[in-house]
């Protein structure tokens, strides 16, 4: 659905938050500058937003600073996308109680999902969400917890106008414009926002605000900013489908080279909005009468990920890095008909030693004598 573009004056941002609450979204999350980064937090009002805050991102480095003006979305993505909201970092899958005769009763963990609206979702985040939905909701075993959490979200996208040096969504085709998957989408201009709705429920929210149509000049300015954002990106992946190229280079010497730099700390997989690996674990009560069965984020960079009792499939760091990169950029095509990378650049910025996926791919594609 493609709606008419409306204009939300900056002063009405609070009204949008109110309208979301009025439509039953008990929790409204939005970007807040905290602990030196822009993270999603509960918003009381628009004044919690990062007004005038700018970011600078480089491999292994993220810094906030102050810029000019009133804009509150003039930064690229923060350390996490929507992933923690849909694929919980740690959750109880089920509980089991054991009675005196040893009988086992399995129960639902009974977690309730609060209807939540999220303001400030980026195009790359939406693209990643769609990929994760495909993973967690695929037949024949859709995950009901994921489904319920996804169901509880109302998404307000903001088209990107200020990409970071680490962004390369233009090359993956996932941004900077949010094309689908949102309920509402905003383009931030100096004095307000061009608003379009992507769903009926999105339209229902804006209806409450009684907004005027955006002028052609306003929509043109918004489009121009998004296009400029695409042009500003300095990083890129050389192709949207690197499957065959990477499969042909499984024994490339560069894997050793990156293996010496990589900490195998799993930060890249944790910030990646599409990575889905997790591990399960029991946490029994001391008296043994009941136990919680947990699932938590795992990473292909951990030892347990490939643990097979008598050996690890991937003992060495280079093999763990290769698993990650070839899964992300190659086997994902086999699994989900597209690459697992949406160009958000988080793995570059949040890698403690600044390993850059685009640079590693480039090095791998270079011809070698080996």
């Amino acid at each position: 659905m493609q709606s008419t573009a409306l204009f939300l004056p900056r002063s009405s941002l609070d009204a949008l938050i109110q309208a979301l609450r009025a439509c039953g979204y008990e929790r409204v999350l939005g970007p807040v500058a905290r602990d030196g980064a822009i993270t999603l937090q509960a918003l009381d009002s628009a004044s919690d937003l990062p007004v005038g805050v700018r970011d600078r991102q480089e491999p292994g480095q993220y810094r906030l600073g102050h810029g000019e003006g009133e804009r509150c979305f003039a930064w690229a993505n923060g350390p996490q996308a929507l992933k923690p909201l849909t694929f919980a970092p740690r959750e109880t899958l089920w509980r089991c109680e054991r009675d005196a005769e040893g009988g086992l009763v399995f129960r639902d963990a009974g977690e309730r999902n609060v209807p939540t609206a999220v303001i400030g979702v980026r195009a790359c985040d939406l693209a990643a969400l769609k990929i994760q939905e495909r993973h967690f909701l695929k037949a024949p075993y859709p995950d009901p917890r994921y489904a319920a959490r996804r169901e509880s979200l109302f998404l307000v996208a903001v088209h990107c106008s200020h990409p970071a040096s680490t962004c390369f969504c233009a090359s993956t085709g996932d941004g900077p414009r949010a094309e689908t998957g949102f309920d509402l989408a905003l383009s931030e201009l100096d004095d307000g926002f061009v608003v379009t709705s992507g769903t009926e429920r999105g339209a229902a929210v804006v209806e409450r605000l009684e907004l005027d149509r955006a002028s052609p000049a306003q929509t043109a300015e918004a489009d121009a900013e998004i296009e400029a954002a695409a042009r500003q990106q300095v990083r890129a992946l050389p192709s949207r489908n690197l499957r065959d190229a990477l499969y042909a280079r499984l024994e490339h010497p560069h894997w050793d080279q990156v293996g010496r730099r990589c900490l195998s700390c799993g930060n890249c997989t944790a910030v990646c909005p599409t990575c889905f690996c997790h591990a399960e674990q029991d946490e029994p009560a001391l008296d043994g009468s009941r136990t919680d069965h947990l699932r938590q984020w795992d990473s292909c960079f951990t030892a347990v990920h490939s643990y097979m009792g008598h050996f690890l499939v991937r003992e060495e760091t280079r093999l763990r890095y290769r698993q990650w990169l070839t899964h992300k950029l190659a086997s994902w095509h086999d699994q989900y008909d597209r690459s697992g990378c949406v160009g958000c650049g988080r793995c570059i910025a949040w890698c403690p030693v600044g390993i850059d996926i685009t640079a590693e791919v480039e090095a791998l594609l270079e011809p070698t004598d080996a």
């Binding site: 905290r34 602990d35 030196g36 980064a37 993270t39 292994g60 480095q61 993220y62 810094r63 906030l64 350390p79 996490q80 923690p84 970092p89 740690r90 010496r260 730099r261 990589c262 900490l263 195998s264 700390c265 799993g266 930060n267 944790a270 910030v271 674990q281 946490e283 029994p284 009560a285 001391l286 008296d287 043994g288 938590q296 984020w297 795992d298 990473s299 951990t302 030892a303 347990v304 643990y307 009792g309 050996f311 690890l312 003992e315 760091t317 910025a349 949040w350 890698c351 403690p352 030693v353």
Partner: protein, 279 residues
Amino acid sequence: MATPRFTVTDALDRLNERPQPRPRIAVHKFSSCDGCQLAFINAGEALLQLAELVDIVHFAEAGPMDPEAAVDLAFVEGSISTPEEAERIQTVRANTRFLVSIGACATSGGLQALRNFNADGAAGWTEAVYAQPEFIHSLDTATPVAEHVKVDLELWGCPVNARQVFQALRQLLFGVAPVVDRDKLCVECKRQQHVCVLVAKGEPCMGPVTHTGCGALCPAFGRDCYACFGPAENPNTAALARRFEGLGLLPEAVARRFHLINSHAPAFRIEWLDWQERS
């Protein structure tokens, strides 16, 4: 070896073969600050529950005293730093079916293992610190329990986390080997959704080489991890050290990052030596 050690086969069999249904447990103290035993003493209700599940036959600080008793499960806190301790640990081992060392002191020597790097040995320090050094009987080194006797399970941390201890204990009571998670702290830090202090503040965080278990406390407080849980599996200390240098730390300061609570742990010892030589 990076392969996690999940199986503690022989000792587990011995433990499972115990004749009496209620296991007898002991908590022994060696050179330490007593902080790890507090995992039990601070457990509140859980301590009383534990007392119903097992017989606590020796635990000097909590009261029960029978240091030489034969037990099924012995927890050992502290490192071995005196001739008396070197002997006593042998008795503890001989008297238990299963031995768990708890905390940095017991698993890596702990903070006091810094003495191991003193050129003139501990004796030199004794002289400096004590008016009458002849009264002090101390070994030159403070070493982990596993350098003296066979240890069946190691729980790292300074201090160990109570959850870690009680989960391990529960699994042993079930008759199975406890899960030992030696992932890097970053994995947990990200699950907790803390903003990375290394990336966002340039702090020399040890998380990428540190064994998880604390729940990522330091990053939660916006500070860099100082590795109180010791090295994780497969730690790339060299790459992290180079990164610290890139953050502006002098070689001597880089060396100190690896030379604190788990200085005697091989992965950290090697890195310290390397950067010590450069400084």
